[in-house]
């Protein structure tokens, strides 16, 4: 741990403080193949800079932060600290957590003192330094308060005090302001930058993980844009805006725009869809028909098209989820996605304007363009007792898409098929049957699932 008052001087000027080389990370899954979260990442953290990891959920940015901090050992690749291989925890790092991670049975003062004690300071020194850190983050007077008495913003201040009290070489922040209200977050960001740029600063660099573009442009010098599934570094953007930065300055807004374009270029590529003869089986995004129809209704109410970020903020949807819905709609040819826009396709317009019964017919047409549905329907028709088991469908999914989570795809498959009245699925006996809409059959179906 950094001795307070002394920045680690063993790093050569110009060389990175810590870096990862060709790092990959996999997590074993209960069903199927291990989940590849990070793929061959190269990243350096240099002295005197603020680096941001930006990307949607699931792109592994928190995982990468933990690898750099030494909390996780990567499945493949090297982690270096001051040019030497890192073993165990990274000694120059202090972390601020997304969920604050304060101990509820200790007061604010005790929470900060605890880490100083752990770093080897005597009680007197620990007390003095803790008091100083608490003052720096503006919580003077709250030393004897318990975390449950504090608001979210104040709790994160304690988290920051705790980290800063150690005068770490690098400050790592894992989505630090995502659980804090927007206004408090703004002032906290400014305070972090203030502390970092102050004359007697001891912290050399900051690594911040975030999914908020504005936050990242405000704080960072280097923005690492990551893509998901698996997590890779897509692009690194240099941010040369002078500090102090203004959220409303045109230069900042322009950079925000640029980043928007970069992200949508990554997540919703403009590749013209080759007309599929529907033999290939693609993985189904884990969304329900209701969400896709909701998207179509939304677009229809706004003249047939809207920008994807606007949709996310209007519908209060998490960006990653929205992308899945858009991709699903695109897979069914219901929308088109030129650049940042999501636009209703002719099929989508027809679906929106139709009545509920016709919608089901149209939906059925749409999903029958997908290979998996075609296969299963054909199998039901060909089966002697008119039944197809769940195992059969799962086998097909696994054979075609061995790297995917087959349970999730199966769930989606059942949802979409039921909405289209394409088949009957008896959950207790785990079989698919041809759809039957007559009176007697409906009653039998009800009693079977009752």
């Amino acid at each position: 741990m950094s001795i307070p008052g002394q920045i680690n001087a063993s790093a050569q000027p110009g060389s990175p403080l810590c870096e990862v080389q060709h790092v990959s990370q996999e997590f074993p899954q209960p069903h199927g193949q291990p989940l590849r979260v990070l793929e061959s990442i190269d990243l350096q953290i240099r002295a005197n800079e603020v680096v941001a990891l930006l990307g949607p959920s699931g792109c592994g940015k928190s995982t990468l932060l933990r690898i750099l901090a030494g909390l996780l050992v990567p499945t493949r690749g090297e982690v270096l600290y001051h040019g030497k291989r890192l073993e165990g925890l990274n000694p120059g790092v202090a972390i601020v957590f997304q969920s604050f991670a304060l101990y509820p049975w200790m007061t604010v003062m005790e929470n900060v003192e605890a880490v100083l004690n752990a770093a080897g300071l005597s009680r007197g020194e620990a007390g003095a330094q803790a008091a100083q850190a608490i003052r720096t983050v503006g919580l003077a007077g709250f030393e004897e308060a318990y975390p449950r008495e504090l608001s979210g913003g104040m709790k994160q201040r304690v988290g920051m005090a705790r980290a800063f009290s150690l005068n770490p070489e690098m400050l790592f922040m894992d989505e630090p302001f995502s659980q804090v209200d927007a206004l408090t977050a703004e002032s906290l960001r400014a305070e972090v930058i203030d502390i970092w740029t102050s004359k007697d600063k001891k912290t050399s660099s900051i690594l911040i993980v975030s999914h908020d573009i504005k936050e990242v442009v405000y704080m960072a010098d280097r923005i690492v844009v990551m893509g998901a599934h698996p997590g890779v570094v897509k692009k690194i953007v240099e941010n040369t805006l002078p500090r102090p930065r203004d959220y409303r300055s045109p230069a900042l807004l322009q950079l925000v725009d640029q980043l928007h374009d970069i992200i949508t270029g990554i997540e919703m590529p403009d590749i013209p869809a080759a007309v599929p003869e529907a033999v290939a089986i693609e993985p189904l995004p884990h969304v329900g028909p209701g969400e896709i129809l909701g998207l179509l209704e939304y677009l229809d109410a706004r003249g047939g098209q809207e920008e994807v970020f606007r949709i996310a903020s209007d519908t209060q949807r998490e960006f990653g989820t929205l992308i899945s819905v858009v991709n699903a709609a695109e897979m069914l040819d219901l929308v088109e996605t030129p650049k940042r826009l999501v636009r209703l396709a002719p099929e989508g317009i027809r679906m929106v304007r139709a009545q509920i019964a016709d919608r089901k017919v149209l939906w059925r047409q749409r999903i029958l363009t997908l290979g998996l549905f075609q296969q299963v329907v054909r199998a039901i028709e060909r089966s002697p007792d008119g039944e197809v088991t769940k195992e059969f469908v799962l086998e097909n999914i696994v054979l075609a898409m061995p790297l995917e989570n087959y349970e999730a795809i199966f769930e989606t498959f059942v949802k979409w098929g039921r909405f289209a009245d394409l088949f009957d699925y008896d959950e207790e006996r785990e079989v698919f049957r041809a759809f039957s809409g007559s009176e007697g059959e409906i009653r039998q179906r009800q009693s079977g699932t009752g």
Binding site: M1, A69, L71, L89, V93, A94, I95, F97, Q98, S99, F100, A101, Y103, P104, W105, M106, A114, V115, N117, A118, A119, R148, R162, L166, P384, D385, T389, E391, F392, L394, E395, V398, E428, R429, R443, S447, G450
Partner: protein
């Protein structure tokens, strides 16, 4: 491999299903049904058999299934009784506000009282009532097991009834459900999950009391019943280690079989009653349940039941006049008031007779009783403390490691249900041969019986330590000792308190059979309240017996309010992890 087995299995059973004949699953189901009928017959035979002065146990392996069956029948009979009681008592307490104010405190006290204090009295009374047949003894055993099982199920049902979401209740009102329909379609389904989990806990607790009552000897009176408990005690008396191991294995097997064939399938089935969105963490699965679903016999039975209950016919709604509907709740209130008054009268009557008995106890005897109570209290606390000392480190080690807790989970579940009193006869023999006086030996016995409750709670608490707090501790270089004192111990404190309460309660119960043991035909006793109760019962000294039981109950209840409740409040305020 993972995919291969279900693929092949699925095709195999699908092939079997295509034939209109029954599959071999049905053959097994039929066999099971026949076994159950046979079992009921044999049990009835035992119950109506003549009362023997001392139990005759055959220690051969062949006789073991019979004893297992008898123990199982007692446990299940008591469970059915507990279930009916919970449904009735819980429903009454939830529906009638006035009665609730009396019923719930009574339940609270009943839960704290060490029921084994009543064992000698109840056994003597029931044997006197049925002097010639076994029924008295069996009833006493079942009654005692019932008192170990019923309370938590009743509380669970009561709380479920009181926390049904308002909108579900409103649907029942708006669509004019009759009280029975409301119970069947709203209240019972909502309470099912709670009842299922509490039933599992109750059965596990029931084995504790079953083993004690089956091995119950009072001085020269042998009140043992044929079953696994008495098998074990006879095996110890004859020094037959082979038989002892057989008995333990039989008990363990019964627990595992019951879990796999009864509880797991019921838990899986009960998942469909889950109200909140999102699954309960790990999805429960039961191979037996999935297997049963393939049975043609059961499927056709279900169809027939549905047809019989008229589920598919439109319900005939009689146009019930408003006045009739108003009279129904009034009738209900009448019944409830009547029951309440009857209960209170019964209580007063019983209380009066009790007071008459107590007046026969001399002042010196009272003082002696209080002293013994303090002594036993000391032993209870000592046993709990000793248990805590070793279970906290071990529990933390297991609970904090996902790998260890996954591997050891079935073992822990088995240990949780295994009744430690089954080992009491063996432990007593070891202690006696080692020359340990019963004053300390009883502490060892109490420890043996109750330290597990602390262990399981510590494990549960350790698995619930939030990941981000652990990460913070690691990333800030907290050393081992710091992590223990600043993170783990405070984090598990609420669970530790629960463990202490349960362990202390169990220790009080165990004191009856720890401070007074029969070894090689001789009664050994030490100074203590448990011993006093057993000795009073052996000497048929009813005034002293009542006084001792009253004092024990009073001490437990007072200690509860003064100490445990306070610790609970501390745990909920200072150490609670919920944000």
């Amino acid at each position: 491999m993972n995919r291969l087995v279900p693929a092949i299995w699925g095709k195999a059973t699908a092939a079997l299903r295509r034939s209109p004949q029954f599959s071999w699953v049905d053959a097994v189901v039929l066999l099971a049904l026949m076994a159950v009928v046979y079992g009921i017959g044999r049990t009835a035979q035992q119950w109506t058999g003549a009362l023997r002065p001392s139990v005759e146990i055959d220690l051969s392996a062949r006789a073991l299934p019979k004893y297992t069956l008898l123990s199982l029948s007692r446990g299940l009979a008591a469970y059915v009784l507990s279930l009916l009681f919970s449904l009735g008592y819980g429903y009454w307490a939830a529906k009638d506000r006035v009665a609730e104010r009396v019923l719930i405190p009574i339940l609270d006290i009943l839960q704290s009282i060490p029921v084994l204090g009543f064992l000698p009295g109840v056994v003597l009374a029931l044997v006197a009532a049925f002097p010639r047949s076994n029924i008295g003894l069996e009833l006493a055993s079942i009654l005692l097991i019932f008192t170990g099982q019923a309370w938590n199920m009743t509380f669970s049902f009561y709380h479920s009834l009181r926390s049904i979401p308002l909108d579900q209740q409103e649907v029942a009102t708006v669509y004019r459900f009759t009280p029975w329909e409301r119970f069947r379609w709203v209240e019972l389904p909502f309470s099912t999950i709670g009842l299922v989990w509490n039933s599992m806990m109750s059965m596990a607790g029931g084995w504790f009391f079953l083993m004690i009552s089956e091995a119950f000897v009072l001085g020269d009176k042998d009140f043992r019943l044929p079953g696994l408990g008495s098998y074990m005690s006879v095996a110890v008396a004859r020094g037959d280690t082979g038989a002892m191991i057989r008995a333990i294995l039989a008990m363990a097997t019964m627990i595992v079989v019951l879990d796999q064939l009864l509880w797991r399938p019921v838990v899986v089935w009960a998942e469909k009653f889950r109200v909140e969105e999102g699954s309960a963490g790990e999805a429960q699965s039961s191979w037996f349940y999935s297997w049963l679903k393939r049975s043609q016999l059961i499927e056709s039975l279900q169809e027939r039941l549905k047809h019989f209950s008229g589920a598919n016919q439109p319900r005939e709604r009689s146009e019930v006049s408003l006045r009739q509907r108003a009279s129904r709740p009034r009738r209900g209130k009448l019944v409830s008031t009547f029951l309440l008054v009857a209960m209170l009268l019964g209580g007063i009557f019983g209380g009066y007779h009790l007071l008459l008995l107590l007046r026969l106890v001399s002042g010196a005897q009272w003082r002696g009783t209080l002293l013994s109570a303090l002594l036993t209290l000391g032993r209870v606390l000592l046993a709990t403390a000793l248990g805590t000392v070793w279970t906290v480190p071990v529990g933390l080690t297991i609970g904090l490691s996902t790998r260890l807790s996954r591997i050891l989970q079935p073992v822990i579940q088995l240990l949780a249900s295994f009744p430690a009193p089954m080992l009491f006869p063996a432990a007593t023999a070891i202690l006696a041969s080692a020359g340990v006086s019963l004053g300390w030996g009883s502490v060892v016995l109490m420890l043996l019986g109750t330290q597990w409750y602390v262990l399981f709670n510590v494990i549960a608490g350790a698995t619930a330590v939030p990941a981000d707090l652990r990460e913070a501790a690691i990333s800030y270089h907290f050393g081992r000792s710091e992590r223990f004192w600043k993170l783990y111990l405070p984090a598990i404190f609420p669970y530790l308190v629960t463990g202490w309460v349960t362990a202390a309660g169990g220790a009080w119960n165990a004191s009856i059979v720890s401070e007074y043991v029969t070894f090689k035909g001789e009664a050994l006793a030490t100074w203590g309240l448990g011993a006093q109760i057993s000795e009073a019962a052996a000497a048929a000294n009813f005034p002293l017996l009542s006084a001792s039981v009253v004092v024990m109950s009073a001490v437990v209840v007072v200690f509860n309010r003064l100490v445990w409740k306070r610790l609970n409040v501390l745990a909920e305020t200072k150490f609670s992890l919920s944000k």
